[in-house]
């Protein structure tokens, strides 16, 4: 099921929490929702799940509008809210059974689904305890289990890996990737490597507006604009090397980083790459090329550039 959002706006008093948001998520796509605190991520997610009313604009899930058919659409959506609220006085198994029944899972299938979720989320050791007795990580697993109990076509996860240990994080990411092949997944997070590890597409929002949309590589290219290479060439004077590099067609400018080590930073012209030229140059002149490293813009930098103002 695709999710289609058009011109979504939500006001809290005079403040616009979400301001003219438009995007689409297709089946089989995992969308990472990034943004600083208060950017409008959770509000958007709440509106998709039907918990909050839609201010202005339109959300369509499949071919139905959430505003008109919200109650019918809920059964297709699995939702893990922020802070993971749970009934602490209920045992894990009873709670999952309760959620399954509410989501309309057939009575005869409920035990199978519970077993499946206990296995997938690694809850076996704790399944008979009350939720209130569980550690934060295990509660998070229960939260994930309840979101997936009815095998929904759409998963909306608000910070799914908070409180999990590193092993579990890897497992949950793997699980999300696996699920994401057949389902539509939207997840929000503050952990940037997580987005790179799990998501097909990244959406960065700030103050309720989209500031970036694309794959991690796309975003890097857009943010970096130009290719930057770290180069170390030996067997010649640094000045000669610098001049030779500067003459290459695709090179914008060359910076000498370390004369003793003969290291340079080569900035290519926009949209062009000088890797091949550098290699050919070294072959021609019989120099030894001992380092050629592209400098990647980190996602953190992109995020900071786009959201700090």
């Amino acid at each position: 099921m695709n999710i289609n959002i058009e011109n979504l706006t939500k006001r809290y008093g005079p403040q616009r929490a979400v301001d003219g948001l438009s995007f689409e998520v297709r089946t089989g796509e995992i969308l990472g929702f990034l943004g600083p605190n208060g950017a409008g991520k959770s509000t958007t997610m709440k509106m998709i799940t039907g918990y909050l009313g839609i201010g202005e604009g339109q959300i369509r899930v499949g071919d139905k509008s959430v505003a008109e058919h919200g109650d019918d659409l809920k059964k297709y959506i699995g939702y893990l809210p922020e802070n993971n609220p749970l009934y602490l006085d209920m045992p894990v198994i009873d709670y999952l059974g309760f959620c399954a029944a509410l989501q309309g899972v057939e009575k005869s299938l409920i035990p199978t689904r519970i077993r499946e979720m206990v296995r997938v989320c690694g809850l076996n050791a704790e399944k008979h305890k009350k939720i209130g007795e569980l550690s934060k990580g295990y509660r998070q697993r229960v939260g994930l289990a309840q979101a997936m109990i009815h095998d929904p076509q759409i998963l909306i996860l608000d910070e799914p890996t908070t409180g999990l240990d590193p092993n579990q994080i890897v497992e949950i990411r793997k699980l999300i990737r696996q699920l994401g092949k057949a389902k539509t997944v939207i997840l929000s997070t503050h952990i940037l490597p997580e987005v790179e590890a799990t998501c097909d597409r990244i959406l960065i929002i700030n103050k309720g507006r989209i500031v970036a949309d694309g794959t991690a590589d796309n975003l890097r290219q857009q943010a970096a604009g130009k290719e930057i290479l770290k180069v170390q060439i030996q067997d010649a004077k640094p000045e000669d090397i610098q001049q030779a590099l500067q003459r290459l067609t695709n090179t914008d400018y060359v910076q000498l980083l370390d004369a003793a080590q003969s290291r340079f930073e080569v900035h290519s012209k926009a949209g062009a790459s000088s890797k091949r030229d550098i290699f050919q140059l070294c072959v021609q002149k019989n120099w030894v090329l001992s380092e050629l490293t592209p400098i990647e813009t980190r996602l953190e930098d992109i995020f900071r550039n786009l959201t700090v103002n």
């Binding site: 809290y12 709440k46 799940t49 039907g50 918990y51 909050l52 009313g53 109650d71 809920k74 059964k75 959506i77 939702y79 809210p81 802070n83 609220p85 749970l86 009934y87 602490l88 006085d89 209920m90 009873d94 309760f98 959620c99 029944a101 509410l102 989501q103 309309g104 309840q146």
Partner: protein, 240 residues
């Protein structure tokens, strides 16, 4: 229907898990038993095999206990945030309200069922008017349903349980006592209207064994309005 029932049974279980149910049962039976059998104008004082004394006591004990049961229903879910999880499941706001209402009514029903030995005892002492006793219980159930719907509404407007309890008690007090007192101070149409609003008049007439449509309409109106307003205040999150 299935969703309503699922919510109702979970809620009822949580009453028993959190000891609230046991406290209610013990306190309700303790209070009403004490005043019915042991103290003051007790059942032996009347000289008739009648449960009127018990009904009069239960009329007051339920008035105080029901807000204590209803105060957490929605307020707690709002405070802990579980309401978000509940309302994003495949249920409507109405099913949530109905489920919680039913759960509390069932608990009060259980409490009233435990007082049935009183009926058996009194029937053994003398010639009990069974019709009147049945009507008395129906009256208590209707009164409970009315106060539960008021309590549910009070619980839906706040995330603080104490505020919910006091609000329910405050609204309840008008129906329970104040309208009756006020009615005495007014004449004409105002007097009639206020007197009709008083819950005690309707309860008394039912518990005497007279089931009048006017009384039924009165109780069902309160229940309906209470539940309707609760649903409305849940739905209000959409309208901001």
């Amino acid at each position: 229907m299935r969703a309503t029932w699922t919510i109702a049974t979970r809620e009822l279980n949580s009453f028993f898990d959190s000891l609230i149910a046991y406290i209610l049962l013990v306190a309700f039976l303790g209070f009403s038993g004490f005043f019915t059998w042991l103290y003051g104008n007790d059942i032996f004082f009347v000289g008739q095999a009648s449960l009127q004394g018990f009904f009069a006591i239960a009329y007051w004990t339920l008035f105080f206990f029901i807000p204590a049961l209803t105060m957490r229903l929605l307020a707690e879910e709002k405070k802990t945030g579980t309401i978000e999880l509940l309302l994003t499941k495949a249920v409507t706001d109405r099913q949530v309200v109905m489920g919680k209402f039913l759960a509390t009514l069932m608990l009060v029903g259980i409490a009233l069922a435990f007082s049935l030995p009183y009926v058996v005892t009194v029937a053994n002492i003398g010639n009990l008017d069974v019709g009147e006793a049945i009507c008395g219980y129906v009256g208590l159930l209707l009164l409970s349903a009315a106060y539960i719907s008021i309590g549910l509404y009070a619980s839906s407007i706040t995330s603080n349980q104490i505020v919910a309890f006091l609000t329910a008690l405050f609204i309840g007090l008008f129906f329970h006592l104040l309208f009756d007192v006020l009615a005495g101070n007014f004449t004409g149409v105002a007097g009639t209207v206020i007197s009709y609003l008083s819950l005690s008049n309707h309860f008394e007439s039912i518990s005497r064994g007279v089931v009048d449509t006017r009384d039924l309409i009165y109780f069902f109106s309160i229940i309906f309005i209470g539940l309707f307003l609760s649903e409305l205040s849940l739905t209000k999150r959409n309208l901001q």
